[in-house]
């Protein structure tokens, strides 16, 4: 138990510490080597489940998964494409594949506390006249899937939009 006069550790210099991150967008990252896959399949969940089950059995990891009225979309790493295609061919669903994609992620510590961020992102994409293949959002990031050739342009536009160096 510390008594009066007990030697205490040197206090942390308070002025130098940042205790809470600045609110707002903190970074933009780019990940390439991705492939966007659209599988035409009816909205019936059981039919969709068959697709996911077959891909799971083949050990294919999926992300940016979205349900659309007549299709499901997802993204795979390019080294998983061959495996994914083989599975989907067997299931006989029409498939559209867009190779050479990149995911541009806009990072923030609490995205949902920053409602204006989505508008700025949409503006930046629109101004660059880039086709956005897929969008995903979470509490700490907005993910934008674009063609790899557009990724640099999008990333720079977003950096400019959010005042990042």
């Amino acid at each position: 138990m510390a008594k009066k006069g007990t030697l205490l550790p040197t206090p942390v210099e308070p002025q130098q510490e940042e205790f809470e991150r600045q609110r707002g967008v903190t970074g933009i990252t780019v990940e390439d080597g991705l492939v966007h896959v659209e599988v035409q399949v009816a909205p019936d969940l059981r039919e969709r489940l068959q697709v996911f089950r077959a891909l799971a059995e083949a050990g294919v990891s999926l992300f940016l998964i979205k349900f659309h009225p007549d299709s499901i979309h997802f993204t795979v790493r390019k080294d998983a494409l061959k495996q994914a295609r083989a599975v989907l061919r067997r299931l006989n669903h029409p498939v559209k594949v867009t190779r050479d994609c990149a995911m541009v992620a806009v990072l923030s510590s609490a995205m949902r506390d920053l409602p204006g961020v989505m508008a700025k992102i949409a503006e930046a994409i629109y101004e660059q006249e880039v086709e956005l293949l897929e969008t995903g959002d979470s509490h700490d990031a907005v993910m934008l899937l674009v063609r790899r050739a557009d990724a640099q342009k999008v990333s720079e536009a977003l950096r400019k939009k959010f005042g990042l160096s």
Partner: protein, 468 residues
Amino acid sequence: MRLIVQKFGGTSVATKERLLIAAQRVVKAKREGYSPVVVVSAPGRKGDPYATDTLISLAKEIDPQVPVEARELDLLMTCGEIIGIVLMAQAIKVVGGYQTIALTGGQAGIYTDGNFGNARIVRIDPAAIWDALRNDVIPVVAGFQGVTERGDLAGHGHITTLGRGGSDTTAGALAAALGAEACEIYTDVEGVMTADPRLVSNKARVLPSVTYEEVSEMAHLGAKVVHPRCVEIAMEHRIPVWVRKPDSDHAGTVIKERASDLPQKMFRFTGVTHLPYVAHFKVHVAHQDDLPEIETEIYRVLGEAGIATYFVSKSRQLFEFAIVREHLDRVRHLLDGLTIPIALNHHSRLYLLTLTPGSVAHRERRRMLMQLRPKVEVLDAPVEVTTNCAIVSLVVLNTREVPGIMARILEALVDANITVLQVADAQHSVSCLLLEEDMVKAVNVLHDKFELHTGVGQQLRVLAGAAD
């Protein structure tokens, strides 16, 4: 010296009995050789006499039509914590015979920006706390509050509040500022649980250990154990956070190393969270090429109104998003009748968003806009709204690396005849948007499917093919 920060929530200090139990925790730590720094919330919960919402209503009820200034609201809201610290300081003195000092956020050196109601901590000067500790006095600090400093646009010395989860944030920030060995969050559950025990009854388990990322994900997706701002600060400063119940012998949950610190690429299923009261919007657009402009305009309108979106998605002629239902009336008001012009090469299009096709208001708007023809093509953009939705999420350490998660989630939900409206995946979670009536069932079937009730799901597993 072994320094710890102990934070007690509103229910822990709501009655004399609970207050004494909480004080015993502080005394126990002191007797074990720790130097505790105590952080206290306002006594009670929603509806209780000194709870934040009760204090706010005192001012608002004078005339609900006249808004109360944000600065004044902050002054009022901080009263609850000030009552809390005086009571806790007294209780510790009575239980343990130790000297205590109650400190407001400002007295404890917590400086914030001037964003009243949701201020951010910019600096901590813990001189008063160190002074107390040097003199063997236990500092009891008011959570949820700070003070502006010289140079802030709002002026010097204004009392501010830190927004939701503010007392947790105070505890995390003080632990960081003091270089504490740990931060203990005392709450009304025994730790971070695999699901809300009110939904899955006796099947929910206390997680002995989770990473900062997992608990942050859980908190953002609806779990109400510890606020993500506290976790974020603890993660930055690598301070372990314990979540415990004051009157329980259960060891609780320790929140510690980052996922990236784990020795190999590992994954595990952490828990199932739920977020009720969500509304889902679908905007139908006649021409696919016009979707980006419509999407941008809707985001702009919602952004200006301070409304965040979830589950954003678009396909050829459809743009979807979800919102928290408390904003439903405002979003309806903002979108119904919104006109969005699209400039084309030789003419222009005007989209008229409508949530109420066939209504008199819509017919009238349309009739007026039709007068712009033939120069302007007028098109309806019907908006479908599903008002009674919920989000149920499976939190997984390293989701993206694990194949088959979506298949297993859908298997469980399909077998339970639950309709999934949309899905979203992130680094540490997969979320499903579904009807609110299915929410409890969905939480239960996912909890079972991923063996969270047996503890098997939480075992760390190495990813197939992962190298050291």
